[in-house]
């Protein structure tokens, strides 16, 4: 998959970087080589076959220059603080770093490591490498300069921070390793939107993204990961959220897909009173494949987690949902809710959905459910008898299927952006 992976160890070591960071990269590489690319025999990959990804050879270095920067304008909104990364590298020139609010720090992640930003080593080594998943390890070995965002204690950032990850390799078969670290200090609040985008559908690439979010006491983050890659692209992404006491994570994922998409969102509720919302919408057509995995670990009492994952499938698209909820013995009074709803509009589409509940405490409330269905015939007929044609009626019902989900997004700027992105996905289908 990655060309000459065994021989790139040397190039991982950068003399200018601290020792621990170089070690982390080498550990990541060994871990990836040790695990290999997961096969469908691995329960976590039962419904997503990576054979096609495995067969292609990708290069990790890319020095293609982008001449058409104006193409970026389709993704930018002047109301936001836009941060642009091209092929995993931070573009200072095209980012609005002058407009940052006081107490909001943005830099490249590698820069922050080099300058030994407070607690950076602790955060980047928080999760032990020994049981790290293959693609997280791969990102840790090969990640690009990435982006680091810190919102200082008690700072409330009002403008939406929009991280735009553009993958646009000059040559084919490029592997991009976007890396994001977000730290929310105690009592801070911000809205951060990460978009993974491409210019058109002509490029074959592999985007392997890793985002880590640390939520300190009483911090609030409105977060969205949105993804619309080239139709020839593979996207595997992990978002890991670590939550301390009374923190609130309001998260959303929007997957318009690529050729194959896997999106993992993991939350660890490590402080009492923390709550996590992981909602998502996926919309796939043709032969696109999208796989959403969530994992919520309730470690302490009195936390809440909510998941509402909704998808619309057209043609012969496929979707997978696997929602793991782990409630540790100490985590009494946990309140956890999970629902996956799928609307199948194509005749050849398929959904595999699975809750995975591991509950070791006895005083908890956990509800879960899943639905897979087509458009309701009575609803269709009702709209038709009012003069609305079949296509318009099915679009109206599909938008209705989505609307209550978008209404759960509390932050207005995030919601507006999602509204316009999802509307575009309806127009395309």
């Amino acid at each position: 998959m990655i060309r000459n992976i065994e021989h790139i160890t040397k190039s991982l070591i950068d003399e200018r970087m601290p020792q621990w960071f170089n070690t982390l990269r080498i550990q990541g590489l060994s871990r990836f080589i040790e695990t290999g690319i997961p096969a469908v025999s691995d329960p976590n990959w039962k419904y997503t076959d990576l054979e096609a990804l495995k067969k292609l050879a990708f290069d990790v270095s890319e020095n293609g220059e982008l001449n058409e920067w104006e193409l970026l304008n389709q993704f930018r909104n002047h109301k936001d603080i836009n941060i642009v990364l091209l092929n995993g590298a931070f573009s200072v020139k095209h980012s609005d770093l002058d407009n940052l609010e006081k107490g909001v720090l943005v830099s490249t992640l590698h820069e922050a490591v080099k300058n030994n930003a407070p607690h950076i080593q602790e955060r980047l080594t928080k999760y032990p490498m020994t049981d790290t998943a293959a693609f997280i390890a791969l990102n840790q070995a090969l990640n690009g300069p990435g982006v680091y965002i810190l919102v200082d204690e008690k700072v409330v950032s009002n403008r939406l921070i929009h991280i735009i990850h553009v993958t646009h390799p000059g040559r084919q078969n490029f592997a991009s390793m976007p890396r994001t670290l977000i730290v929310m200090e105690p009592f801070s609040e911000a809205a951060i939107f990460e978009s993974h985008v491409a210019f058109g559908d002509s490029r074959t690439y592999f985007s392997n993204a890793l985002t880590d979010i640390f939520m300190n006491e009483n911090a609030t983050l409105h977060y969205c990961k949105s993804q619309k890659e080239s139709l020839k692209a593979f996207h595997i992404g992990h978002t890991r959220v670590w939550q301390e006491r009374d923190s609130s994570f309001d998260g959303f994922s929007f997957m318009a897909g690529g050729r194959l998409t896997r999106n993992n969102v993991d939350a660890v509720l490590n402080g009492e009173g923390a709550n996590a919302r992981l909602n998502a919408f996926y919309s796939v057509n043709n032969s696109q494949h999208v796989d959403n995995h969530t994992s919520i670990e309730h470690r302490v009492p009195n936390c809440a987690s909510n998941q509402l994952y909704k998808g619309i499938l057209n043609d012969s698209a496929r979707a997978v949902f696997n929602g793991r909820i782990l409630v540790r013995p100490e985590a009494q009074k946990t309140n956890s809710y999970q629902l996956n709803k799928n609307l199948l509009l194509g005749s050849g589409c398929r959904v595999d959905t699975k809750p995975q509940l591991e509950i070791f405490a006895d005083d908890v409330k956990c509800t879960h459910g899943a639905t897979i269905g087509q458009l309701d015939e009575d609803e269709m007929f009702y709209l038709q008898t009012r003069g609305i044609g079949k296509n318009a009626a099915s679009r109206m019902l599909a938008e209705g299927f989505l609307s209550d989900l978008l209404n759960t997004v509390k932050n207005a700027a995030v919601r507006e952006k999602l509204n316009s992105l999802t509307r575009r996905s309806f127009e395309a289908s």
Binding site: D378, E379, F381, Y382, L383, Q384, T385, R386, G387, I388, G389, K390, A392, A393, M396, L397, E399, G400, F401, L402, S403, D404
Partner: protein, 261 residues
Amino acid sequence: MSKEEITKMKDAMFEIKDLCVNVGKTTILKGINLTIHPGEVHAVMGPNGSGKSTLAKVIAGHPDYQATKGEILYEINRKKIDILDLAPEERAREGIFMAYQYPVEIPGVSTSVFLRAAFNEICKHQGAEEMDPLDFDAYLREKMKILNMDDKFINRPVNVDFSGGEKKRNEILQMAVLNPRFSVLDETDSGLDIDSMRIVADGINKLRRKDNAILLITHYQRLLNYVVPDFVHILRHGQIVRSEGKELAMKVEEKGYDWLS
């Protein structure tokens, strides 16, 4: 001249000829004939299972109700078209409307978005100018007043969490907004308390005009005290067994259906 002779002189706008309808393999309607002229209100009454709702559904174009024989002629631009050849949405755009016995809930779709889409589809088809959201909002509020409906319904999803009476009022609201030439009201009075029924009946009466027609399908005579029909037809076992003036409804109220064969 008798009333019958007068109406014969005008052109019929809606004519059902020898209509037979199957649901699955069961024949429900067995040769229905019905002629309706502009300005008329016809009532079709009948006991449960007589085929009343089937008649409404086949006029609206429900795919489960298949006409095996006969035609439904409807006057469009002075030509008679068999609407059995038209899709449900095409019938609606030509001005045919059905008020549902059991209105359907549409989660996530607001009443105003839905009604504006419907209104504009019909405008587009008839070559009229479409309405923008602001103008439509004002138009909708005006129509809601006719039915004593609260403004809060405008942004609520269609029929979701509406009471039975509110749903029926919403049907007549749609009739007021879409301004059809021919309306079938399928048991609009069922499940309504007397106050709601008066409001609904007043609404229907306000929508009666010389150039439109209404077919009321009902189980009870009650609604017909408020919306007085020109003709009453009794449907039994899939056939119209008697057609008379409004007095027939009173007779049915007194004697039931069994004396009619």
